[in-house]
Symmetry: C2
Subunit: 389 residues, 2 copies
Amino acid sequence: MAFPVIGMVGGGQLARMTHEAGIPLGIRFRLLSDTPQDSAAQVVNDVVVGDYRDLDTLRAFARGCDVITFDHEHVPTEHLRALEAEGVKVRPGPDALVHAQDKGVMRARLTEIGVPCPRHRIVADPADVARFAAEGAAGEGDAPGGDGWPVVLKTVRGGYDGKGVWVVRSAAEAAEPFRAGVPVLAEEKVDFVRELAANVVRSPHGQAVAYPVVESVQVDGVCDTVIAPAPDLPGELSGQAQRLALTVARELDVTGHLAVELFQTRDGRILVNELAMRPHNSGHWTQDGAVTSQFANHLRAVLDLPLGDPRPRAPWTVMVNVLGGDYPDMYQGYPHCMARDPQLKIHMYGKDVKPGRKVGHVNTYGDDLADVRERAAHAAAYLRGTITE
Amino acid sequence: MAFPVIGMVGGGQLARMTHEAGIPLGIRFRLLSDTPQDSAAQVVNDVVVGDYRDLDTLRAFARGCDVITFDHEHVPTEHLRALEAEGVKVRPGPDALVHAQDKGVMRARLTEIGVPCPRHRIVADPADVARFAAEGAAGEGDAPGGDGWPVVLKTVRGGYDGKGVWVVRSAAEAAEPFRAGVPVLAEEKVDFVRELAANVVRSPHGQAVAYPVVESVQVDGVCDTVIAPAPDLPGELSGQAQRLALTVARELDVTGHLAVELFQTRDGRILVNELAMRPHNSGHWTQDGAVTSQFANHLRAVLDLPLGDPRPRAPWTVMVNVLGGDYPDMYQGYPHCMARDPQLKIHMYGKDVKPGRKVGHVNTYGDDLADVRERAAHAAAYLRGTITE
């Protein structure tokens, strides 16, 4: 049997949903998981429990695989370079992945290739943050108030879901980010009307597909709702966003799914916020709303197979995240949600409920955006326990 | 965590695809498999290898589950009755399932509830078969030629995919079926214009959904192509078929998916051919062509959850089976098939290729039936090795 073995590093929900997409392809799926109870470990047959930070563990894991890919971006770049040097197919490769792992490297490269970013630079200490703010007051930029504050500070490595990001209004507030001992990137706080995501998938031989540009609504720094396609987005801006994402994928030689998170500014420009080189929360809607899901296309790209059609199957698709709330039991909401909406698509991750933790999402689709949004929002809130009828 | 544990007896592709549908529901899936390499065993985490014909094995397996269901219909009825008596939730229950396991019992019950069947009766030996033929010559029936031959003979238990079925033209040809030592059912050979399937899903509390009636094309006794919905099927006949299937589900107290295979006669009547109480080949199109797949709805029913919308998502959906041919390697056809049709949906089962064995299927959907059929037929033939470009 010549079906390839995909090695997935990381056992979170992205791995779980990638395995789900891989089942119909008949490919074999091998998982490197932190624990046997991880989201993906619960549903995969071939599970290796081990530490992805250990090179020998990675080596042994990769030995049974035709290609390895990732559920997260925390595998040390130097380990991936070592594996690649030893002949392991790593997709996306470390030279691409470093741009999703290190925000400083990402900003430098994007600027190099002419992709619009917020004003930014690495800052050394709180006094330097104040200088950065002043540079913004003097020159161009979107900072409201015109004095260059607030400033967004990010550790260049390690942040996700709002962690490792601070919004500060003075040098006095700027001390904490530097305590991690990791370089800190300062960025202007963009006066955006909304956040978008332009996601693409690219394969090793250069084929790429672009998904419809979506609107992404964050609550407390975490993705809450995604609307596909982004409502009232001028065709020119949508095309610009997709071309930008395809350019980034090509210039960085990305293999697999690339999520490009964007700001749409008040004056109608788009700026790159962040990159992720893996399936992404902003693409979960594709599981039910697109011809080919981000997970299926990520697998095809990693296997160097022709990519699937990224087009939508419905006029509107909405995803709302289900975060842990007061109820430990997500299952008890099923009868209500399923009876209320026979078209609801529930995606649970098998994770223990902790307040604010991503434990699942719901997708809805249809012709009427208000209705599609309401159905998804209601179901997510009900499952979470925020509403009880 | 209050997510239920579904115990699936049998590790074939139906179990594999049911697990695939269960992943997003967050439910836990436990498999009783003949071997560790079975289709479903390759993709499930919690696998028990054991013999479903052994009651103690079934008992131990069921102990870890909230409900058990089936990939096939071969679990001995008496074992299921024993489990039910011991408090195990068996869905569908043995009293329903026996009608899918024993064609004699099925025919008797359907006749009792007034559901149209081909002329039939149990026959004792070849001479009795000749008498059955004569009964058909004398009275009503669709037998061409008017002498009551040919006659279809079926062992009441054990047949599938054309096995255990004989079409005989004389008493002399009728010896073989009786050698199995199992009761033999004789049926008139129906002069049908085509075969249909009216599939429904029913839950323990009586809710039921009916899928669009499909056309099913058999080649050499095995399902080859399914077209959803059946083209040019008068609304009245379609409604009749769906109502018939819902009636059977209710009268037999079926829980889960019920496939009702039908003949559409030359004079516009529908007759029941066979029943299956599990997800079925005639319903694979639903994975990509319906709002809720047969697998997802079977799970909901077995868990007594509200059922999902069974309506189609596309005007036409076609499934073509991929049978083993001369190529041992199904994967090598992927680049061609995926490049030719970016909307193609491949579903492979992870099974070793043997000539004529069901190793997967492809689904296509769209607005133009001829195009949708051509795309699916081409892909299946290419993967099988029947064509090479």
